[in-house]
């Protein structure tokens, strides 16, 4: 990977070919002729990377943005405040001798729940450090708020109250169902499931791997008799670059305003994968992850 450089804007498409312009000049009858592209087979010649040589691969910035947002979502512990990537604005990357990759970037984020998404974007800046193809990237991230703190606290508390009254369907389930439907009364389950998954998604993101929560496949436990919500469940994660589906069991304990406690275990595939096993993430720890 190249040393630190700034990323210029993406290359513009659609430049007429020089050979076509020559042709246009030669033939007096011609109007301006954009190149008639040969329909022959085979790839054209050219170097590998897109954009300007030295720029970080465009995918890397998005990877870093995702890792940063999963970490932020976990840390914030707020199911109403969940954010997802809108667009990468700019960034640069540096790699050291041990192939540790440090990414500095700015990006915009929007609210996770598309039904209430009002187009408002938060602006974030982050430093993300990937150890060579290893999980648990180190994240330092700040975002502007797209909602006042008091409002997100209020929404979290409303969600908490709904969760307390909720009798969750225990056992195997499909949320959403095959048609993408989530019963509105079960919405708190989905939001909390995604909140808990944020920890897993952050930990497992590397330079090349990134995950989405595809479906909640089982509710093992939903305890609301004490103050905190105690939620034990299984999700199916979708890893994008390999397209694989990874079942993970997650156990979270949540109370609005308090740090989120998460334990998880993912089934590894038959092919050798990074072991992630059972981890406990507690946001009582300082802002940096424990092992950095």
């Amino acid at each position: 990977m190249p040393p630190a450089v700034s990323t210029p804007p993406a290359p513009r498409p659609g430049v007429p070919r020089p050979s076509a312009l020559l042709l246009a000049l030669a033939l007096a009858l011609c109007l301006a002729v954009p190149g008639l592209q040969a329909a022959g087979p085979g790839p054209g010649p050219g170097p590998g990377s897109p954009g300007v040589p030295g720029a970080p691969p465009p995918g890397l910035l998005r990877q870093a943005a995702r890792a940063a947002l999963h970490f932020l979502n976990f840390r914030a512990g707020s199911p109403s405040g969940l954010r997802v990537l809108a667009a990468v604005l700019r960034g640069r990357a540096a790699v050291d001798a041990r192939r540790t990759c440090r990414v500095d970037l700015e990006f915009t984020a929007e609210r996770y729940d598309p039904e209430v998404a009002d187009g408002r974007l938060g602006r974030c800046s982050a430093r993300v450090v990937f150890r060579h193809q290893k999980p648990r990237p180190a994240v330092n991230v700040t975002c502007t708020r797209f909602m006042e703190t008091s409002r997100s606290r209020r929404e979290d508390f409303l969600l908490y109250k709904r969760a307390k009254r909720l009798r969750a369907p225990l056992g195997a389930t499909s949320i959403p169902n095959s048609h993408g439907w989530i019963d509105p009364s079960l919405r708190p389950i989905w939001d909390l499931a995604f909140l808990g998954s944020s920890y897993v998604l952050w930990e497992r993101t590397t330079q090349t791997l990134h995950y989405y929560m595809a479906q909640l496949s089982s509710v093992n436990q939903w305890k609301t008799n004490e103050d905190a919500i105690d939620f034990d469940y299984m999700v199916l994660l979708h890893e994008f670059s390999t397209q694989e589906i990874i079942p993970c069991r997650i156990h979270l304990v949540w109370y609005p305003g308090k740090p989120l406690k998460v334990k998880y275990h993912c089934q590894e595939l038959h092919t050798a994968q990074e072991g992630s096993g059972t981890e406990e993430g507690s946001a009582v720890a300082p802002t940096q992850p424990n092992n950095f």
């Binding site: 498409p13 329909a39 996770y112 993408g180 479906q215 979708h238």
Partner: protein, 375 residues
């Protein structure tokens, strides 16, 4: 193909444009009615804003070819591994002039339900509007649409009966110990070189050999047999909100890469205008990941100039399990993108209306040659 194109364009210039479409007897527009629960009987009550199981899609195809008998016909393409018939719809206005072909397939990956939903929506839009809508009507003057609503039928059925997140086909391997080939890694283009697996348990298993799967063979043979006429090959997937150009198997670019990007970007802009959805445009190797054996790359390499993969909504919030409530908006915006591509393809090969438009160089040369030969 190029000499033929040149001749076509020459004809277009020399013969006055008197072949207007017949605007009379516009077909009454039928609004889609939400089905009320009992199995639907007629096309009038078919809901394009719900996901349909394969039996209903088979029935829909028959009804489409019955209702639009002069223009839409159903054709047999081949058999799946589990011996189900694969049908495509050909939309073609009878005429004397030779047509070019637009190919669209959906559902090569079983779990990407929004794709077959779009193929059905697309057919409906063309057939309901070609008589009233000049933009669509003009396409049918020179273009035939070949639409394969579900390519991976066995896999699609499996996502309805057993595993909503299944991706591959349902072919059996290793003495029945593992199932399914990733059909979009099975085409004969740099087969299994990168971004695919030789392990039948893997989700990107490339098959026992290039074009080893009956579904791939059916599509390959057919498209190959028509390749001189096919100008546009569109394969619909989800999710990711991307318009992908060749290639996935190399970072090298196709000879018409810049043009493909330009057309793709214009399509993404048209899409965004509809509901504000952002799509990114680029080669698969650049903005997605490396893949080999994909249908899009194969189509490009046998000479089809405009070859795109569309990855539809969303960006990961619901992923493959896109809520049915989003079908309409997704289809509407995707329709704008596809129409934009078709506009550009049409302009490139047939537009001879106004000054300042593109005239292929071969046409100009042809004119010069004929002028020279007169003197």
């Amino acid at each position: 193909m190029k000499p033929l194109l040149g001749t076509l364009c020459l004809l277009g210039i020399l013969i006055p444009e008197g072949l207007g479409y017949d605007g009379s007897l516009a077909q009454p527009r039928r609004e889609v009615v939400e089905e009320t629960g009992s199995p639907w009987q007629s096309l009038d009550t078919y809901s394009y804003t719900r996901y349909h199981p394969m039996e209903e899609i088979y029935q829909w195809m028959i009804q489409i070819s019955e209702k639009y008998a002069g223009v839409a016909t159903q054709h047999f393409l081949g058999m799946t591994y589990e011996t189900r018939p694969m049908y495509y719809l050909k939309i073609s206005q009878p005429s004397d002039n030779p047509k070019k072909i637009i190919w669209m397939d959906c559902g090569i990956h079983a779990r990407e339900w929004i794709a077959p939903a779009f193929c059905q929506w697309f057919v409906k839009e063309i057939l309901q509007n070609y008589k009233d809508n000049p933009r669509i009507g003009r396409f049918l003057r020179n273009l035939d649409f070949y639409v394969l609503p579900v390519l991976n039928i066995d896999g699609y059925i499996y996502t309805w009966t057993t595993d909503r997140l299944w991706r591959k086909s349902r072919s059996s391997h290793n003495n029945g110990t593992c199932f399914g080939t990733d059909l979009n890694r099975n085409f004969n283009v740099s087969w299994c070189s990168i971004g695919a697996s030789k392990n039948c348990q893997d989700i990107t298993f490339c098959g026992s050999g290039p074009v080893s799967e009956p579904e791939t063979k059916a599509v390959s043979s057919f498209v190959e047999s028509k390749k001189e006429s096919i100008v546009c090959f569109l394969t619909m997937h989800s999710y990711g909100q991307l318009i992908l150009t060749p290639y996935g198997y190399t970072k090298n670019k196709s000879s018409n890469h810049e043009e493909l990007i330009q057309v793709g970007q214009k399509a993404a802009n048209a899409l965004k205008k509809k509901h504000g959805t952002n799509y990114r445009v680029g080669s698969s190797a650049d903005i997605l990941y490396a893949t080999s054996g994909s249908s899009r790359d194969w189509a490009r390499d046998i000479g089809i100039p405009f070859s795109y993969t569309f990855e539809l909504r969303d960006n990961g919030t619901y992923g493959f399990i896109l809520p049915a409530a989003q079908i309409q908006a997704t289809c509407e915006e995707t329709m704008e993108a596809v129409l934009s591509v078709l506009d550009d393809v049409y302009e490139k090969y047939w537009n001879s209306d106004s000054a300042g438009k593109v005239i292929p160089a071969t046409v100009v040369l042809g004119l010069l040659v004929s002028l020279v030969s007169i003197f």
